[in-house]
């Protein structure tokens, strides 16, 4: 616990406690001034580069068909309309896609966190025969590194054999296999940070193995659990390839496939496509902003804190 919070990106304070930088900022020489201006020019250019494309899609989603094709392109919709959104939800069953994603994502998060935490607990707390702790940990990590395309053919055949194609459970199982190595690896590092003494003390006081695990360690790794879960949410929500192969009707297609379907084969339906893209990113952008403190650790499988 004590380890998890300072790891995050919160060293704003550490940097601002640099007295030299602050006094230098007050006595401004021309070259320092130029450097500061240059810095802000770069930072603002980067903001434009990263955010403008998103803004442009959101803005375009509110334009009429005519305005979308007009020249010069407008930055803001001149006559805002929700036509694209109405089309999306009334004619294209996009609400279903949201529901499907909710089901698939929550199913796979719950399962992979549960299985992952149990396995991680065993790996970090028990000594397994041989060198199994290390071997298993690295084997699990290495399954994470496979490009998904490598397993797609056989996984399709397994899911097909189980009659789970176009079923939520089929997609959930597949997503669990993607997220599980990540969950094990992350939870293992979080559990290792909690001193074993705490559980020992509880057990000396008469707690059972399970009680020590659930009442002592689990509450302490909750921040890690949340960070891991949020990451799995993003990954499963955004996943496309397997969802494309394993679902084929609107009542089972998750968001990513439904969004891609808007692009259409022959004619692009720009209004509903932009609206769909906008709807699709809202939940995930909210998530990203909430989790940014935890993002780094997840991105590098705990390698960089």
């Amino acid at each position: 616990m004590a380890e998890t919070t300072p790891n995050t990106l919160k060293s704003d304070m550490a940097v601002s406690s640099m007295p030299a930088a602050q006094s230098a900022a007050r006595r401004v020489s021309p070259s320092v001034y130029a450097a500061r201006v240059g810095r802000h020019v770069i930072l603002i250019a980067a903001i434009l580069f990263f955010l403008f494309p998103i803004f442009y899609m959101v803005s375009s989603s509110l334009k009429t068909h005519v305005e979308l094709f007009s020249q010069p392109p407008t930055l803001l919709p001149q006559a805002p309309t929700l036509a694209g959104y109405f089309d999306l939800f009334n004619n294209r069953q996009f609400g279903l896609a949201l529901r499907n994603s909710l089901i698939v994502v929550s199913g796979s998060v719950a399962l992979s966190i549960l299985l992952g935490t149990l396995a991680a607990y065993s790996l970090s707390r028990f000594r397994l025969p041989g060198k199994l702790n290390g071997i298993l940990a690295f084997w699990i990590l290495s399954t994470r590194m496979l490009p998904p395309i490598v397993t797609i053919v056989p996984v399709y055949q397994i899911i097909n054999g189980l009659r789970l194609v176009n079923q939520f459970s089929g997609l959930i199982i597949v997503y669990v296999t993607f997220s599980l190595p990540f969950a094990v690896w992350m939870m293992r590092s979080f559990i290792s940070e909690i001193p074993v003494d705490l559980e020992e003390a509880a057990m000396v006081d008469g707690a059972s193995r399970w009680q020590a695990m659930w009442r002592v360690t689990m509450p302490l790794i909750r921040p890690g659990l949340v960070a891991t879960a949020i990451f799995i949410v993003i990954d499963s929500y955004n996943e496309f390839l397997f969802a494309l192969i394993l679902t084929n009707t609107p009542d089972r297609m998750p968001m990513s496939v439904a969004t891609a379907a808007l692009i259409g084969k022959i004619q692009v339906q720009w209004e509903s496509m932009n609206a769909g893209g906008t709807v699709a990113i809202i939940p995930i952008v909210v998530f990203a902003i909430l989790l940014q403190r935890h993002l780094v650790r997840g991105l590098t499988l705990g390698a960089v804190k």
Binding site: A14, V15, M18, A20, Q22, A46, F50, P53, I54, Y56, L68, P72, P73, L115, L118, A119, S122, L123, F126, R127, N133, L136, A137, I140, L141, S142, M145, P147, I149, V150, T151, I152, V153, P154, I158, L180, S189, V196, M203, R209, I234, F240, L241, I245, M255, T259, A260, W270, N274, G277, A280, I281, I284, V285, Q292, L295, L299, T300, A303, V304
Partner: protein, 312 residues
């Protein structure tokens, strides 16, 4: 010291000898019971598929049945398959351009934002957004921007600068660079965020001491910051390289590998072989080769992680 820490693989399980934990903590069955569900899931969905692919790749597979033993024919076919080599080449070029560019841009932003800049939290939040978007949506965003008729870049080029209006995704020369820009847009934030975290672990007193000794910004960057950042840079490079090998979604929603095969990266090529041409055996052989390539890179990755763990 280093910003890289592995969760103590060796020191993890306590219970050496006569410690209290050894007596209380070693539960003979529980340790396996806890592991079992996860291991079963992973065996069924990652080990079995690999063995199955290996098997499939050695047989001829027609209409859902294994017909005749093919031996290494499927692997041999690869050598003479121009489309395969084209996809490998495209992937290499793509990775070779995209990953270093993202590194440089991400490092630049991280170096600026590690300083005490006003609104730095705001900047950081803004910069990470592209990274979490679904690749499918990123495809949509760029189809809109790159649109030949009404996309903003083409308006600026055509109407304001009176230059030709390129067909970004449609022109064989421009399609791959256009996909690269899309990838750089989405993944520079990753490099930025990871490198920023790495930079923040570099002790300030070290840089302070260098400054007192009269080192310029560039000198301390060259001799202190970058050497200390090296492990983080390596991790970031490896993660992105592995990701670049997987590139599929963006290609699927923008160019479908085209025009021709200009943007047919290796994942997309395998997808086509398996699901468009239904050549399952050949696809399986391709998967095995792809797997070996990935294994080499991931071994490298794990080794780097371990080495830096030891160094710590």
């Amino acid at each position: 010291m280093s910003s890289i820490t592995l969760p103590r693989p060796a020191a993890g399980p306590p219970g050496s000898g006569e410690s209290l934990w050894a007596k209380l903590g070693q539960d003979r069955w529980l340790r396996f019971t806890l592991l079992l569900p996860a291991v079963i899931v992973l065996v069924v969905f990652s080990v079995y598929p690999l063995l199955y692919s290996l098997y499939t790749s050695l047989w001829n597979y027609r209409f859902g049945k294994f017909t005749t033993f093919a031996g290494l024919d499927n692997y041999q076919h690869m050598f003479s398959d121009g489309a395969f080599w084209n996809s490998i080449g495209t992937t290499l070029i793509f990775t070779g351009v995209v990953v270093p560019t993202e590194l440089v841009l991400g490092l630049l932003l991280a170096l600026i934002l590690v300083e005490d800049v006003r609104f730095r939290t705001l900047y950081r939040t803004a910069y990470i957004i592209p990274m979490v978007l679904a690749p499918v949506v990123v495809g949509i965003i760029f189809r809109l921007l790159y649109n030949t008729e009404f996309g903003l870049p083409n308006y600026i080029l055509g109407e304001l600068l009176h230059l030709p209006r390129p067909d970004w995704f449609g022109n064989p020369q421009l399609a791959l660079p256009s996909v690269m820009v899309m990838d750089i847009w989405q993944w520079t934030p990753f490099m930025f965020l990871v490198l920023l975290a790495g930079l923040q672990t570099i002790p300030l007193d070290l840089l302070e001491a260098a400054r007192v000794d009269g080192a310029s910004y560039w000198t301390s960057l060259r001799y202190i910051t970058l050497p200390l950042l090296r492990p983080t840079i390596l991790v970031a490079l490896l993660v992105r390289t592995m990701d670049a090998l997987r590139l599929f979604d963006q290609v699927y929603v923008t160019t479908l590998g085209g025009p021709g095969t200009a943007t047919e990266v290796v994942s997309f090529f395998v997808y086509k072989v398996a699901f468009k041409f239904s050549q399952m055996s050949y696809a399986a052989a391709l998967l095995i080769v792809l797997l070996v390539i990935t294994l080499i890179i991931s071994t490298l990755y794990i080794r780097v992680l371990n080495v830096s763990h030891v160094a710590e």
